[in-house]
């Protein structure tokens, strides 16, 4: 998440653009991880997904386009 934040904030463009390329990797890993700790998941929801609309929006968007192994 720190990488995504830095990439977004320190991007080369004049207009701030969300670093969705890196974030999409993160979303994919979160959704496919079978060992994600409950406390970590809770922290993700409390500190990021329920706190920032852009993170929530891109999470849903990336999850929608992802190929999940079911």
């Amino acid at each position: 998440m720190r990488l995504v934040k830095d990439e977004t904030a320190l991007g080369s463009r004049e207009v701030t653009k969300f670093a969705n390329k890196t974030y999409a990797l993160f979303v994919e890993k979160i959704l496919q991880s079978k060992t994600l700790d409950d406390a970590v998941l809770q922290e993700l929801c409390d500190k990021y997904l329920n706190a920032y609309y852009d993170i929530q929006f891109y999470f849903l968007q990336d999850a929608g386009y992802m190929r999940l192994e079911i």
Binding site: R2, D6, E7, L10, L25, F26, K29, T35, A39, V40
Partner: protein
């Protein structure tokens, strides 16, 4: 037959041999990580050392995961190298070293360095995300919350 002790003498501080060695290795690694970070940030000549830090994220965990006595030390090294790499790339990004100017020739050394750094950045992201596949919360939390 010469006299032989029936057991190995204990170490003065009460630590088992492996633990003591691990503590020394851990201390050295910590110093190494910090000094490597400083070297990388001080000159482009040392950019190659990024590879060494990235390998610490990966190799240390996969090869030493079964050595329980070393586990805490290994985790600390992984977390330390992750923090270090995040700081390095943040600094490089702030200095504009991860992007090329429009006027640069595509095969110039400058562009090649930028491309190489961007590839290492992707490596870092993948290695960090691999920590989410470990079953250890203390390694998963830093993926969200690395201090800058």
């Amino acid at each position: 037959m010469p006299w032989m002790p029936d057991r190995m003498p204990s170490l003065p501080n009460g630590l088992a041999n492996g633990q003591k060695k691990a503590a020394v290795v851990s201390r050295q690694r910590k110093v190494d990580i910090k000094s490597t970070e400083n070297r990388i940030l001080s000159s482009t000549e040392h950019l190659n050392e990024i590879l060494g830090l990235i390998s610490l994220l990966n190799v240390l965990y996969s090869h030493m995961r079964d050595m329980l006595s070393l586990q805490d030390k290994v985790d600390a090294i992984v977390i330390e190298s992750a923090s270090s790499l995040i700081r390095i790339f943040k600094r490089l990004r702030r200095q504009g070293k991860l992007t090329t100017s429009d006027s640069s020739a595509p095969d110039s050394p400058q562009v090649q360095i930028v491309n190489w750094l961007n590839e290492r950045y992707v490596d870092l992201a993948h290695n960090l995300l691999n920590l989410l596949e470990t079953d250890k919360a203390n390694l998963q939390v830093p993926v969200f919350n690395q201090s800058s």
